[in-house]
Amino acid sequence: MFYRENGQFKSTYESDQQMLPILQDRVFMLVLLVFAFGAVPFLVSDYLFLSLLIPFLILTIAAIGLNLLVGYCGQISLGHAAFMAVGAYAAYNLVLRVPQLNFLVVLLISGLIAAVVGLVFGIPSLRIKGLYLAVATLAAQFFMDWLFARVKWFTNYAHSGSVQTPPVELFGWTVNTPAEKYLFLLGLLIVFTLVAKNLVRSRIGREWMAMRDMDVAAEVIGIRPVYAKLTAFAVSSFYVGVAGALWGFVHLGSWEPLAFNLTLSLNLLFMIIIGGMGSLLGSYFGAAFIVMLPILLNQLPAMLGVPISTSMATHLELMIFGVLIVFFLIVEPHGLARLWAIGKEKLRLWPFPH
């Protein structure tokens, strides 16, 4: 009844190419943004910021990055945490060695470095695909884990191999309290989402999708596979690299190579499976889901008055993860994003089903 686009005509190309073509969506987005920027910082407790919202925002950037590669270009990667690590260590060394750099510039350069590394590990994708590529990207994971643990220069010869970061400073603004971190990350996430959105609906994004849907046909219509695949790897690694730098600097503050291990890679993958492959909105949903699930599982039973042991909660978490992944693959391969779309469709018809 309320969610209906009747009477909204698109009379110019601009209005046809809008990101949110329906008025109601625009209003909703506006309200959401106002709420996220204006109200959340005052409503939410530090705990929710630090253990839910901040990881959520950072991992969403990473999930968008991975989604560009897996969901849009159809190239699987099981080693994306390695590129997060590249971003994090690049940022650490930049801040350490060139302290006068603005943190935004640091982020940009770390992202670019990660993009170059991603490009190198993307080269096998030109010859192999599918499962074989998955194994090749695992090579990136294990090699990077090793590299950062062993080459002392990366960790500034820290005797424990763990690095500490100074607080993030931006134009004299120290991003220190949880609310400040949240606002900073939210701003970044919005910029990154807008860029990604425009990438995927521009020429390059369409090339990626053509590669994904059928590589031979794509080549026939004049898309260069080398170019399409490598740009996907580079852009994806850029996103993930920036997310890695943020994960290190804003979320952890101190980390060791283990922080970017295979588990994180797999978690990123689960985010886009559960959230929805080939959907930016799905990256949001997936990241929120993966961040929230363990915390919920740990606290919900106690809240409901049926305390379970902490080990049981962890085992349950593993099992529920497993079941959900299989469930989504079978029942809804397009993930939560698809459920959202179905909901919207229903809302459009409501309350008259025909």
């Binding site: 096998p124 499962l131 062993r150």
Partner: protein, 333 residues
Amino acid sequence: MRKNWPVITLGLVLLAGLVAPFADRSTSPGFYVEVLLGGLMAGVLYSLVALGFALIFKASGVFNFAQGAMVLFAALAVARLAEQVPLWVAMLIAMVIMVALAWVIERLVLRPLVNQEGVALLMATLGVSYFLDGFGQTIWGSDIYKIELGIPKEPVMILESLFQGGILVNKEDFVAAIVATALVAALALFFQKTTTGRALRAVADDHQAAQSIGIPLNRIWVIVWSVAGFVALVAGVIWGSKLGVQFSLSQVALKALPVVILGGFTSVTGAVVGGLIIGVGEKMAEVFLGPVMVKAFDLAGGGIENWFAYVLALLFLLVRPEGLFGEKLIDRV
């Protein structure tokens, strides 16, 4: 012949790596043989896990990431059951459990996903592996458990006359090697001589053709997963008796991945040979190349065996994507 030059080059490089340690006078031949043996033994264990991979991939086109979790699950079951009943009974019961598990996986995971692309199936098995990790620890516990096979663990010296200082070997490793060999032989026989085995091969060749001549696909898949469960059980018992049964066992699957790449996804022989190559290559690299790299780059310790297998597999993928013994089915890009 000309087409094979990258493979030959890679082979030569590997061979050079094998011989290289002798350039350094300090390496005694006895020690060299020990490293070789150590690598072979590790390789046997990798092969055991890789076998399970290859079997399932051959018959159903599924890249079973959950093989490691199955190894852990089987080992946990044997270890915990053996606390109550004799070991062989425990193994029998565990086998029944593994068959039941195979049936459940086929029913709930594979059947609904039939005809999906490989990557989706891979992710589904990732899900299965998470579930098994949690489920196994829930019902069997998360301590370290022991499996006593009754094999002495103290090493013995052999060939003392031939090499200075002799060569240290473990009986346990030999038993593992024998079991692996027996297992491969049994599997080969099973595939070649029995009706079920032939049906399995038919399914592997062409699902639709097999179905059209009346081979029940679903039952075949249950059988394949049961066989993979059996292989996991054997691997679990051997690894478990060597390392103790503990959560970390499920991570051996990660070592088996490069093995199947190297050997070829569809080849049982490939799984075995690939395992041996990776095992030897890894240990050689760690023991001989590691210290050199540490000196050269001032590293904080070696540990190159963690990625060596993967990088080796990656190189192999670039020059010969079908692996050593695999069928040339992969569509190149």
